[in-house]
Symmetry: C2
Subunit: 138 residues, 2 copies
Amino acid sequence: MARYSEIKKILKSHKLRITDRRIDVLEFFLREKRTMSFKDLEEEFKDSDRVTLYRTLNAFTEHGVLHKIPDDSGFATYGLCHDTCDSEDHYHDHMHFKCNECGNIECLEENVPVVEIPGYQVKEANLILKGTCRTCVA
Amino acid sequence: MARYSEIKKILKSHKLRITDRRIDVLEFFLREKRTMSFKDLEEEFKDSDRVTLYRTLNAFTEHGVLHKIPDDSGFATYGLCHDTCDSEDHYHDHMHFKCNECGNIECLEENVPVVEIPGYQVKEANLILKGTCRTCVA
DNA sequence: TAGGTTTACGCAATAGAGTTGCAAAAATGA
DNA sequence: TCATTTTTGCAACTCTATTGCGTAAACCTA
Ligand SMILES: [Zn+2]
Ligand SMILES: [Zn+2]
Ligand SMILES: [Zn+2]
Ligand SMILES: [Zn+2]
């Protein structure tokens, strides 16, 4: 974790106070480079209070550090935002892939195909693909 | 509700026992012709036990009478299946639309566009559009 | 259609994910 | 350093949904 100054900079630029918890959580996301469920975080930070973790995730989501990945499984999953996201403006048009084998959820590079429905105003589109991911296919 | 015999036939063909509750719930779906959340059903069937409603919805979903619509809101929503669905085989490729104004979720005719991701095996795709529905746009 | 088996129902309790209230602790800024 | 604001930790709580179990209803077969 040689990124302490970088992490501080990210928190500051997103108008978040710098606390030990937030540094730890953000560092974890940056290090793992993958989406994370609440359970993942709970396991990593056993000493931390559940409520604080929830509040950290909410704060990060509100301030454009993380985006919450829509999921029907009942487990919220979070992924890192682009550099350009902040409180006012953070939109994500990319698709997500959930692997039935390993259970991981990935942010894909590709954007959700644009869909137009006559008579409807489409403002947002979430596409979740399920199947077997690259790692598990091999 | 002049469809009693029809409803009975549907239940039988899906290998479901015919009970008063199931007839009522299925009749409600057929009459309303729209997707229904658990709350909708609870309000319609105030005299019924919540658990029975949950179990009815689960049985219908397992036997291909209803399909559960993936939703990140924490409220399960259900829509009628096609005639061809049964316990073994009920797949749905259609998109869903959630209106931010009225809150209703609609099953759309159109299927989810086919997406291929190199290296991945895509087996299922759920696309949920959000915005303003035809009724609320007007 | 009666009798035995299987399944559904109703009630209470429980599980699981997430939130809220509040006092103490920490971060910020002057 | 000190005052102000935000965050943390703990307990209690909300909300959706499930499980266990005894009773009631549906089904099947003779
Ligand atoms: Zn974002
Ligand atoms: Zn993502
Ligand atoms: Zn179906
Ligand atoms: Zn549908």
